[in-house]
Each structure stands twice: as structure tokens, then as C-alpha cells.
């Protein structure tokens, strides 16, 4: 391939995705596509009650059904010595900020059973598993399992669960509140609020949603009694964590578990950690001596996938007479669900509650409560869309309540470039960026200045047009360790082994583009190998905006070492000084004679000899294993325009503009794709999505796609996106997270546009999801 052609597909090129042909022609290998000779099928028996004591479980009828191989319950699992699912409620890395109970007591951490023991705590919790020769027999068996329940009072609502007299989920805790902490300076905040010219108040609930990945969860596991080893085919964003956690649960050394992940059809946080069914199936494979498969159907997914959001907020902002933000205080309550799986949405939200605005003083009370609902965990930008929504609504409410201009308020309070790096009042240090430029660009691209003309035209059609803007900042940290292993093969390929697994982001293309750029090799000769712990020893997953950020660092490190080694090998072959060999355009060049050898020629030449010094014995090979806790902050600005039919409350999104700074866009097309998907996911929350639990019965009322609304392609206009590239100073490559920026500001910008459209009716706020009914009620009842 000619040099110019290679340059065009390196960093910054919208190279078509290498994986798309495979994925679009049905040749992907998703978790349910794995098949093992002799496999049998598991079906879960799930609790129909949100909270109940298990009085008895009679499995006899089910066990006697021909074709049923095993019926197992939680006690069987305990008898076998299996451990609970391990939690890292504050994440895998060093916590960004420290959160401790205000009374000094330890944070309450519940056990997390794979199969309920003695008590069920949410509708859909597994109480038994039936393994049979076919799915249908297993379902027949599941219907024959008789469970007697003693129904207990339940609670699903966040505020109610936090009340002292709420039904308690865990006998060992005296309250459902597991974490109760204060942050900031309450005394200073009180002084400011007492004397502030203006105080804006906002109470809201960022409702619970679920990821609805296109590929439902599935696990196929096999146990080999001769070696006592397991092989587990499943879906996750990284194989290593699943392996390590499964080994802990099974009580075996990590090397006894091999995890294989193929293509993954969506993650969004919902499959970021070990799930109960994966444990159950792996254990059942050992119990039955047969490979066991379980594949979730959509209804089970709604009941039992890890869910997201569910944050209840009361907040106030103090503003001086000209519009400077002075202080912010409030209370955030995170609904954890029945198990304390993750405090991260709470923590990673509140730590950037002030967003990219200068607010010197904060006073925040944070609580995490358990309730009779499935566990929540990070969901596309853990905690950040929630707090960006709150901040951006506060600004528009300040404008509404006190007559400020909403753009001026933002401009006045945005952190200017000269104040960066900037330590926010929670202690987070923002790296660098040009926040105001991003907003100005978004306003310009959206034709903000001509909005009034468009609004008047809409009025002639009986419609209310509204426009809103939202800025955001997004912390990228997540699992801090990543490892790449790169080998230039004599056959003309570069093999890259890396921990992070693509769950739709196109790593086979974008990671390969780095090597195309830095080693000048054709993209088709770069093989990204991942998802199998047989060769992936260490590595995190694709989450927290860490995929490209971490990959670019470890791949860069490996490339530097491979070039160094290549120069050394070349100098030994030519018998010249190392300093006289340079690497340029994919070739090692001896400067004296301009003699040169390509990377792959060198890899082949290397194989012809064996007498290499020890540091070169492995050839053009390198490992980089890093731990990086320093966040790179993505930021940006979105503008949304909506057109509302005031009679029915229906709306269309008539315009959407996104400016996102990703530091360095490796593949702008893929970044745009991430932004598009992110916007849709955020708009879904703003307009229609909700895990709807009946407050009286605790039952899930949105248990299928007939009732859980997700946006469709026909709900959107073409997006206008622009990528800003201010390289992050937090690491050498400069990449900032690119996968979450679409979602993070979308909640706030949509609601800001809606309330703007309805401002003529005196509407101050519309809660999410902003359904047509809520819009009509806002118009008619205020």
C-alpha cells in the first residue's frame, strides 16, 4: 500500500468499519451463537413478589418430569460453598473523591446472592433454576416448581424507602439507607444562601431506566471434571473481570476459569459486571456434567438486567444580583435496588455537580437507599447525565424565575481556559478545555440567532417551538488498569491483544487505525484480539469512557518499544550504530547508505537468526501494562429544538446540534456514531423511557417493548454534530472519552427546549419522561 493511502486511514480518518461486513451479513458470533455438543438449557424460576419470605420450595414434580436434569435452589448453592457475587461498590480504581458515612459507621454492604435465599427482594429475582434437555422442557419444569411465599410489605420508591418506618430489606441493617454522607461546607453555604440576591430551587427525579441492549444476555458454560476447569461463553465488556469474579464465586483459582466473549450487541453499563445467571449456569454445568446454556428473553431482561439512574434530587443555587453563581446545596438520593451493587452513579454524579461552572461553595447531602427493585449500576455515563440535567435545568430556572438571559448566565459562569486546570468545590481537578468556544459553536451551528423567525413560522401552524442549550463535562476514569500485548508477525500481520472488548464501538477499526498511523502498516494487517482469557491476561472493559483513552496509551507505549527493538535488530543485522537507524514511514533506515527494511521484512529477517541478545529474544514484541487513575474530561455543548402541539402535548425534535470535545478523534465517523446513539439514548430518557414500578404492588408495569418505550429512527431529525479536538493534558495521546458525550447533556437540553417552548403558558418545568400527557398537564394546570 502506498504511503498516502495509509495516511488516509490512520488517525483522524473516517475509515469504514472493518467489522461491519461480518456483523451486517449475519456472521457475528454473539453469546447465544456459541454451541457445544451435548448442551442443555436452563430456565430460571423468578419471584412474582417484590418482597416475601420463601416458606418452602417443592422441586419434586419438576425433577420427575422426563427430560429435566436438575432443579436447583439457593440452599443447594450455599451447600456447595459458592460465594456471593463480589461487589466493588465504589469501582475498581481509586475513588475520585472520598465518601463516608457522616456518623462514622461503616457503609452498609449487602450480600448479593445469585439465587435468593430465604427471602426474595424484587420481582424477577431468581429462586430456582431448572436444567433440561430443551428450553421447552425446562419451561415446563419451571412451571412445576412450587414456591410458597409469605408476602412482606415492599417499597420501590426512593424517598419512601429512605423513611425510618419503611419496610426493611435486610435484617442486619437498621435502615434502608446504606450510605449517608455530607460533602462541602454547610456553614459557608448557609451564610451565602442567607444573603444571596437570588435563590433558585429545583426538586426532581431522574427516573429509572434500563439499557435494552439489542442482544439479550446469554451464557453457555462447560465444566471438565478431569481438570476441574470451566469454560464460559458470555457477553460482557471485558473477559478478565468476569473470569476473576466467577473464580471468587466458585472458590477456584482464576486460572480454572476461561471466559470467552465474542461480538457483543450493546452494553451501556448493564453488563459491566458479573450477573447472577452467569454464575448459576456455570455452577449448573458442574452439577449436571453437561454444557448448560441460558439465554434471556426480552421480558426477563426487563425484570432482571442491571438497571440505571433513579436519582432523587432537591437542589438550590444562590446567585448574586448580576448573575454570578455563588453556592449550590442540596440532597441526592440514589436508589440502589435490592443489593448494594454500585454507589458509583451517586458518587460520580455528585463530584461534578457544579459541572463546568465556577461555583465556589457547595453543601451536599448524599444518600444511597435499597429498595424492592433490581440492582442499579452505572448506565451510559454513571451519574453524570443526572447531575448535568440538574445543573442545566437550574440555569434555565434561574432565567425563568428572575429574568436572566440563559445564554448570558452560562457564559458568565463558565470556567475560562485561563483558570484551567480547575479544582471544583468537590476536589475534582478538570484538565483543560475551551468550554465557551464549544457553546458558541453549538449556538452558531444551531442557528440560535434566527430562532425567533422559526418560532413565528411555527405559530402560524399552531405549534409551539422551543430551543434549549446545555453544556456538560464528563469524568472519564473507570477501571484504571489496561494492558496491550503487540507482536509484529513475520507473516505480515500485527497482532494486538487487549483487554477491552468492543460492545459496538468498532475497536477492530479504530484501534487498528492507531497502528496504521504509528507503524505505517495497512489496516487490514492489524488484528485486534480480545475477549478470551486464554490469551488476555489483564485488562478492563469498555466503560467509563475508557476504551480508546486507555487503549491509545498502552498501544502507544508498545509501539515505541517495538520501534526501539526494530532499530536495535536492524543495527545488529547491518552491523552499525543504533543511532544511525531511524524509523520512518514504516521502514527502518540506515542513515549512512539509505538502505532500508520494512517492518514486516524485519519481522521475517528476525526469524532467520537465533543469536539475539536477551532483550530482543521475543522479536518485535511489546507489553504495556498501565494503571492510570487520572481522568480526562470530555465536555461539550448541545442545542435542541422542539416543536410542540399544544392541544395534544405531542412533540417532534425539529433540530439537534452537538459539539463534543473528544481530545483527539481517531475515527470521526465512529465518534459521530457514538454521539448519535448517545443522543438517542438521552432523549429516550427525557421523553419516554421509564422502568415503571407500581407503588402499591411493587410490580413492574413496563415489562416488554409494548410498554417500555424506546426511541426509533423516525423520532429524530438528522443531527448536526461537530467534533472539537482540544487534546487532554492528562495523558500523552490526548484522547478524551467519546462514548458518553451524546447522552450526558441530552436529558437537560431536551427539557430545556420543552420548557422554553411552553414558556408562553407560564410553564416552569416538566418532569422526565416528558410525555404528551405531562406536557398537556403543564399547559393546562401549570
Amino acid at each position: 500500500m502506498k504511503e498516502s493511502a495509509i495516511k488516509k486511514i490512520g488517525i483522524g480518518a473516517s475509515t469504514p468499519r472493518k467489522e461491519d461486513y461480518r456483523l451486517l451479513t449475519g456472521q457475528g458470533q454473539f453469546s447465544d451463537d456459541f454451541y457445544l455438543e451435548g448442551q442443555v438449557y436452563a430456565i430460571m424460576v423468578r419471584s412474582p413478589h417484590p418482597h416475601a419470605k420463601i416458606v418452602s420450595i417443592n422441586t419434586l414434580l419438576a425433577k420427575n418430569l422426563p427430560g429435566v436434569l436438575a432443579v436447583l435452589i439457593g440452599q443447594d448453592m450455599m451447600d456447595d460453598g459458592l460465594k456471593n457475587i463480589p461487589h466493588t461498590p465504589f469501582g475498581l480504581g481509586t475513588a475520585d473523591i472520598s465518601i463516608e458515612n457522616k456518623d462514622g459507621t461503616p457503609i452498609r454492604i449487602s450480600p448479593h446472592y445469585s439465587i435468593a435465599l430465604e427471602r426474595v427482594r424484587y420481582v424477577g429475582e431468581v429462586v430456582a433454576v431448572v436444567v433440561a434437555n430443551s428450553v421447552e422442557i425446562a419451561k415446563d419444569g419451571a412451571e412445576l416448581v412450587e414456591v410458597e411465599y409469605d408476602i412482606l410489605q415492599s417499597v420501590t420508591n426512593t424517598r419512601e424507602a429512605a423513611e425510618p418506618n419503611a419496610p426493611l430489606l435486610w435484617d442486619q441493617f437498621d435502615s434502608n439507607v446504606c450510605l449517608d454522607a455530607v460533602l462541602g461546607d454547610s456553614i459557608k453555604a448557609a451564610q451565602i444562601f442567607d444573603h444571596a440576591e437570588y435563590v433558585v430551587k429545583f426538586d426532581t427525579v431522574v427516573q429509572r431506566v434500563t439499557a435494552v441492549p439489542m442482544e439479550p444476555r446469554s451464557t453457555l458454560a462447560k465444566y471438565d471434571p478431569n481438570t476441574s476447569k470451566y469454560i464460559v461463553y458470555t457477553c460482557s465488556s471485558g473477559a478478565v473481570r468476569v473470569k476473576n469474579d466467577l473464580a471468587i464465586v466458585l472458590g477456584v483459582p482464576p486460572d480454572y476459569v476461561r471466559v470467552v466473549i465474542g461480538d457483543v450487541g450493546g452494553h451501556f453499563g448493564a453488563r459491566g459486571m458479573l450477573d447472577a445467571e452467569c454464575v448459576i449456569v456455570t455452577w449448573a454445568a458442574r452439577k449436571t456434567g453437561r454444557p448448560v446454556k441460558w439465554t434471556s428473553d426480552r421480558s426477563e431482561g426487563f425484570l432482571s438486567d442491571y438497571q440505571g439512574r433513579d436519582l432523587t434530587v432537591s437542589v438550590e443555587l444562590a446567585i448574586d444580583n448580576v448573575g454570578n453563581f455563588l453556592a449550590m446545596r442540596g440532597k441526592n438520593i440514589s436508589n440502589l435496588g435490592a443489593y448494594t451493587v454500585s454507589f458509583q452513579p451517586l458518587q460520580k454524579g455528585v463530584e461534578i455537580m457544579t459541572s463546568l461552572y465556577q461555583i465556589p461553595i457547595v453543601d451536599f447531602h448524599v444518600q444511597a437507599v435499597i429498595s424492592n427493585t433490581p440492582p442499579t449500576r452505572p448506565y451510559r455515563s454513571a451519574g453524570r447525565p443526572e447531575v448535568m440535567y440538574v445543573m442545566e435545568r437550574l440555569i434555565d430556572l434561574a432565567a425563568f424565575d428572575y429574568g436572566f438571559d440563559r445564554v448570558d448566565l452560562r457564559r458568565r459562569n463558565l470556567i475560562p481556559p485561563e483558570k484551567l486546570p480547575f479544582k471544583n468545590p468537590f476536589g475534582m481537578i478538570y484538565d483543560n478545555g475551551r468550554y465557551q468556544e464549544a457553546m458558541d459553536l453549538a449556538l452558531r451551528l444551531s442557528d440560535w440567532d434566527n430562532f425567533e423567525k422559526r418560532r413565528q413560522e411555527a405559530v402560524t401552524r399552531g405549534k409551539c417551538l422551543g430551543i434549549g442549550v446545555s453544556n456538560y463535562i464528563d469524568t472519564g476514569t473507570g477501571a484504571p488498569r489496561e494492558r496491550a500485548e503487540i507482536k509484529v508477525q513475520a507473516d505480515g500481520n500485527v497482532d494486538v491483544i487487549i483487554g477491552t472488548v468492543s460492545t459496538g464501538q468498532g475497536h477492530e477499526t479504530s484501534f487498528a487505525q492507531l497502528l496504521t498511523e504509528w507503524l505505517n502498516v495497512p489496516i487490514d494487517n492489524v488484528r485486534i484480539l480480545t475477549g478470551d482469557t486464554a490469551f488476555v491476561k489483564v485488562g478492563g472493559g469498555t466503560h467509563s469512557g475508557r476504551g480508546m483513552r486507555m487503549a491509545s496509551i498502552v498501544i502507544w507505549n508498545c509501539v515505541q518499544e517495538i520501534i526501539d527493538k526494530g532499530r536495535k535488530i536492524t543495527s545488529l543485522i547491518i552491523n552499525c550504530n543504533l543511532e544511525d537507524v531511524i524509523f520512518e514511514d514504516g521502514r527502518f533506515i540506515y542513515k549512512e547508505t539509505e538502505q532500508s527494511i520494512s517492518l514486516f521484512e524485519l519481522a521475517a529477517a528476525f526469524e532467520l537468526r537465533k543469536d539475539w541478545p536477551n532483550d530482543l529474544k521475543e522479536g518485535l514484541f511489546s507489553i504495556s501494562d498501565i494503571t492510570n487513575n487520572t481522568p480526562a474530561f470530555s465536555y461539550g455543548s448541545h442545542v435542541c429544538e422542539v416543536e410542540i402541539d399544544p392541544d395534544l402535548g405531542t412533540l417532534i425534535i425539529s433540530g439537534y446540534t452537538a459539539v463534543d470535545d473528544v481530545g483527539l478523534a481517531i475515527n470521526p465517523m465512529i465518534v459521530d456514531g457514538q454521539t448519535h446513539g448517545g443522543i438517542v439514548q438521552g432523549v429516550g430518557q427525557a421523553l419516554m423511557e421509564q422502568c415503571f414500578y407500581d407503588s402499591v404492588t411493587g410490580q413492574l408495569l413496563s415489562g416488554s417493548l409494548m410498554d417500555y418505550a424506546i426511541p426509533r429512527a423516525d423520532s429524530f431529525p438528522f443531527f448536526s454534530t461537530a467534533i472539537s479536538e482540544v487534546a487532554s493534558t492528562s495523558h500523552p495521546i490526548g484522547v478524551r472519552p467519546g462514548g458518553e458525550g451524546g447522552t450526558t447533556p441530552a436529558l437537560g437540553v431536551v427539557i430545556n427546549a420543552i420548557t422554553h417552548a411552553l414558556s408562553g403558558y407560564g410553564v416552569r418545568h416538566v418532569e422526565m419522561p416528558a410525555t404528551p400527557e405531562r406536557i398537556v398537564k403543564a399547559i393546562y394546570r401549570k
Binding site: D707, A709, T771, P772, V776, Y780
Partner: protein, 273 residues
């Protein structure tokens, strides 16, 4: 899905014969409601008699001043039929707004009205246009057909063979869609038929029904503003997680007025969305 017997006759009489052999046998039309319900084990049948191969149940034809649509005609066929677009554009529009392309290519008019889902589109079309349901035994007037939640006047062995739609003077159909299922949160067919003005409402009650007070007003003054001071009571309307009874009642006037406006426009539903 529980096990069941399966038959796919290509002749109507054969279908009648098979279904008579077992009281637990049921007819299968497009399967867009029954099959998911079977898959989720919410329904159980001893056997299914698939009507999909019976050609005499398919097709659209004009007979006198009636549009006759075979029971096994897909929504997509109805939506794209030039005959339907010309004769009753509102019906074409209605069919084109059902579900999604997969549903429209599998689902059938006969299946939809036999199922009588309280939020389905076709029942509003059948009742609002004063159609009649032709079966292997008789012809049932639309006013007698829909009797309750998923309940029709059909006997268990009766097969819908076709629907007869008298071509109205004008008609308009407007639906407020459920964002998840795209069934009707509330939808209205307004028509001027040989039988007078009819207003049929679906999605709001246990089954499709007519609003006689609105019909009386429109009989005197068939205009988009005629219902300006007319309200329906929210009592007995459906309330669910998507919409309250009050919201459905609130929407009635706007939706009915839009349906009237569309019915009066030269191109009917084909032009306005």
C-alpha cells in the same frame, strides 16, 4: 410455547372441518397477537389452523359501491392498494399506521378485528365506516360485532372471510400513538356514511365504540369547529402507564376535529399526517 397441533389447509371447507374436530383448536391469521402470546405461554391451544394458504380469503375488490377486503389481506396490501387509496383514503392511511413494517406484512384485517384488541386500529375503521363482517355463516353489522374486551359476536368455529366497506362520502382517521407499541392511545374514525355521520373511538375503552352525542352534533354541522364546546367524560375511559383517562378525554376533541378536517380535505388522509 406449549406444544400444539398445526394445520395449514388451502381450502376454506377443510379449515372448517379441521377446527370442528377439537373444541380447543383455533384459527391462526397473521399471528401478530396470538403467536407472541403463545411464545410467552400466556395462551395455550390444542391446535392451530393456519388460514394463510387459503387464497379465497385474500384480495381487495370493488363491488357496487362497496370495497370488499378479504380477511387474510395484509395491512401492507391494504395500505398500498390504489383501489383503497382512491375509494377510502382514510382506510389506507389507517392500515399504513399499524405497528411496524414487519407487523404490516404479516398481520391481516380479519385477524385484527377477530382479536378485537381495545387499542387496535381496524376496529375503529370497521365501526366508523359502518362496515359489515362477512363470515362463512352470515354477515354481521359492525354495530353488532364488537361486544367487549377482546370479545366479538363470532362463534368459535366461525371464520371471517371478508369485510365489506360501503364507500363513505368522506372519512378521516387520526391516531395518537402509544410510543412503545404504536397501538392507539386514542384514535378516531370520523365518516359521513350512507347511514349518517359516525364517530368511532378506539384505545379509550374496553372496545371500540361510537360517540353518539358527537355524531348528533356533526350531523347538524359537519365541520372541524363543530365540536369546539363538546367534551367527553373521562369516566370509564382507560387509564394506564401511558395515559390517564383524563388525558384521553382531553384529546378527544382535538383528534376528532382533525379527523373531520382531514375527511373534508380533497386528498383526505393521504395528504395530511
Amino acid at each position: 410455547m406449549y406444544k400444539f397441533d398445526f394445520f395449514k389447509p388451502d381450502d376454506l371447507h377443510e379449515a372448517e372441518r379441521i377446527v370442528a374436530t377439537n373444541a380447543e383448536y383455533k384459527f391462526l391469521a397473521g399471528g401478530m397477537s396470538l403467536v407472541p402470546s403463545l411464545k410467552m405461554r400466556l395462551s395455550k391451544v390444542a391446535g392451530l389452523v393456519d388460514l394463510g394458504d387459503i387464497d379465497s380469503l385474500k384480495g381487495i375488490r370493488l363491488e357496487d359501491n362497496n370495497l370488499i377486503i378479504g380477511a387474510m389481506t395484509s395491512h401492507e396490501t391494504v395500505a398500498s392498494s390504489e383501489l383503497v387509496k382512491t375509494a377510502i383514503p382514510a382506510l389506507s392511511w389507517l392500515a399504513g399506521g399499524i405497528g411496524d413494517p414487519m407487523v404490516r406484512n404479516r398481520g391481516t384485517i380479519g385477524g385484527s378485528i377477530a382479536n378485537a384488541d381495545p387499542a387496535a386500529d381496524y376496529p375503529a375503521g370497521v365501526l366508523g365506516l359502518k362496515a359489515s363482517v362477512i363470515t362463512n355463516k352470515r354477515e354481521i353489522d359492525a354495530d353488532d360485532f364488537f361486544v367487549g374486551l377482546y370479545q366479538t359476536a363470532l362463534y368459535s368455529e366461525e371464520i371471517i372471510t371478508a369485510i365489506r366497506f360501503p364507500i363513505p362520502e368522506c372519512a378521516g382517521y387520526v391516531k395518537l400513538r402509544n410510543p412503545a407499541s404504536r397501538f392507539a392511545v386514542i384514535a378516531i374514525m370520523v365518516a359521513k356514511t350512507f347511514d349518517g355521520v359516525r364517530v368511532a373511538l378506539t384505545g379509550a375503552g374496553s372496545h371500540v365504540y361510537r360517540i353518539s352525542e358527537a355524531e348528533a352534533i356533526l350531523t347538524k354541522n359537519f365541520s372541524p369547529t363543530a365540536l369546539n364546546s363538546f367534551y367527553i367524560s373521562s369516566e370509564e375511559l382507560n387509564s394506564d402507564i401511558h395515559a390517564s383517562a383524563e388525558y384521553r378525554a382531553h384529546c378527544f376533541k382535538s383528534i376528532a376535529s382533525r379527523a373531520i378536517l382531514i375527511s373534508l380535505s380533497e386528498t383526505g388522509n393521504q395528504k395530511l399526517s
